[in-house]
């Protein structure tokens, strides 16, 4: 999981650099002692994985950013609650998981209204990681279509399966870490993941079949 979570190139802050060799826990300690660069480094280290996780859960880029910011805000306000017995990465994912589930619960209970024009529908703001597809423009268009299809399938999953699926099958988190992040027993993580995968295979067959 570390390779997903670590973004060494973004750890710089003005006038100071914190390298990837500094463990998360040490950064938390330094932040708790008032070192601003330590918090900045933690944000840089985890912002992409937080946004990525949130996006897969809520399928809305703007909300993914907001929810990821919620996580860091909570980290900022509650760094004192971090206990050294857990890994920071799982701790922050636990915050993220709880925030995401809370959001989904609220969203489920709220009606949605679209007042804008059809082709500029609000709530459809999306952001994509930019890659240079100039050599293969058809591929880019195809991949976008595939991603949209996959995301629709993920959104169809029940929340309890979706979170495990995103954490393990997409974020490549270990069952143990996912267990800690979700508060579920490892066995439950395993069985839910299995069911989620089965669901995904059944619903995303069109996209799966197109895979080489």
């Amino acid at each position: 999981m570390e390779n997903v979570l670590t973004a060494a190139s973004e750890l710089r802050v003005p006038g100071e650099a914190i390298g990837p060799e500094i463990p998360d826990k040490l950064l938390v300690d330094r932040f708790r002692n008032g070192e601003k660069a330590a918090f900045h480094a933690l944000v840089n280290r985890y912002k992409d994985s937080m946004v990525g996780y949130m996006f897969r859960i809520v399928n809305d880029a703007a909300w993914a950013e907001d929810l990821a910011q919620d996580v860091f805000l909570k980290l900022f306000l509650n760094a004192g609650k971090f206990r050294a017995e857990s890994r920071f990465s799982t701790w922050i994912f636990r915050i993220a998981h709880n925030r995401a589930m809370d959001y989904l619960k609220r969203r489920k209970n709220e009606p949605r209204l679209v007042l804008d024009s059809a082709d500029d529908a609000p709530g459809e703001e999306k952001s994509y990681e930019m890659r240079d597809f100039r050599e293969t423009p058809a591929m880019e268009s195809q991949m976008k279509e595939v991603e949209d299809g996959v995301m629709r399938v993920i959104q169809e999953m029940d929340e309890k399966y979706r979170s495990v699926f995103v954490l393990c099958a997409m974020q490549r988190m270990s069952y143990e870490d996912a267990s800690e992040a979700t508060g579920l027993p490892v066995k439950t993580v395993s069985s839910r993941l299995c069911r989620a995968r089965r669901f995904f295979r059944a619903k995303a067959g069109r996209w799966i079949d197109a895979q080489a």
């Binding site: 907001d66 007042l115 804008d116 100039r134 299995c194 067959g205």
Partner: protein, 510 residues
Amino acid sequence: MDCRDFDELISLDLDGRLDPKAREEIENHLSGCAECRSEAFAARKAERLLAALPRHRASAGFGEALARRIEAAPPAARMPWALFPGMGRLASVAAGIAIGVALAGSFHVALNGLQKKTSAGENAAPGRETPEESGLVRLAGDSLGRNLHALETFNSDAHLFPGEEPDVARDVLANEVSALDIPGRISEIRRYGDVYRKRDRNGWDVMSEILKCTSEIVDSVGSAPAAGMEDEAVMGGIKIRAGESLRRIEAARRIFGPDFARSPVVFVESGGADVPSQPRDSNPVRLYVSGINLWTDGKAAPAIDVFREIEKAHPGTAMARRARDMTIWILADMGRVRRDLRSVHDIDQLLGDGVVISQLTMNKIESLLTSIEESGMPAENNLKIRISAGFNKQQLHVFPSTPAQALKSVGTVSGVEVNGRRIQIREGGAAAILDAIRKLPRPWRVLSCNASLDSDGRGKRVSIVLVLPKGASCTYSPDLAAALESLEKEYPGSFAPACLARIMVEGKGE
């Protein structure tokens, strides 16, 4: 092995959680069970599919937005006391500022606001707001605060045409500046500031107050259509036209009643009102007013006003088309507005038809393609153009909600197929498309042509849309090609990787 157990085993296997013995059992089972073999194959392909999906990353503005939210957190919560034993509230706020600045970099307006807050907070009674903590000081870091700052420090000459000689565009924009009634806008923002201050008490109070404000300015500001002129709907008994964002708010209020402020998706549009899709703890409502956004960071321009001036100068050009089948957006920095205006005039001379400057977004492109597909015309009469878009290093915001965000929406169309024939767009892209179209067997008649040239996000290219209204009895003519080619000459290479063309043909014309 029972096939019923297989699902879980394959899942465990995908995650490398099986020991060699279990793996061997699986292999043995697979060799004799076609159904499970097929499932296992699909499972592995599914994993590959998931691994191939693009990763979504934090946007460039993530740190700044987070910094703003940290700054907006109540001072007492901004840094836990336990973290700074004995250092007191000032240290807490100072730490918040420091981290905010570290995250936001150049967010100097926010810093100024917080510095004021810090000095005020030293003598403040716990739990009570000082005047400096309320209202606009608190707003210093948000859009209204920035608007206010920009307005109060605005100087048209210095901001728009530093060190340059007067020209047509300068005159047009000078008129715009005087028409904007900047003192009036400042006054409005101050009122919003007061409204904003109430947000912590009750979201509905906030909305009520905002609606009072908006009802007063809706005629002068909100009624100015900004985009999507075809868009019209009746909501909550109110007829809504695109661009009348303030009226949309009113409609939403009627629909949702007192809970409006807590209601979901309402509206997002630059130069309009932006109510987050769901209320957020620290920022339940944001409101931008058309026209004010013009000066936000000096980047956005009120398209409609600029074009109104153009229409005055050139009757029957820009505005005449706007009322029919045209989308007008201008989202550009001031330097670009000047250049864009120049190009508008040029195009007017070339085409004598509708011309707009536009920032097309991906869903717009998709909707164009969809409309071609769904047009119901005989397939053989459709000129099928498939657009493939590649993008620069920045993020694509399909629906830009702020001018700054829109400026990031810098798609570059990198590949085009015309009736199945692929054209690789590099240099001379617009001309290449037109050339390909020209070579197609005639006769056919153009119903609509929409060519967009997007910015590369660095201000080096212009965004232009040429619209020949749908339904117009307009025949494809070399003039259009000439126009594009002229533009290509004027902005060498700029059209090339960023050209979108949409041609629909109907029956047998000519």
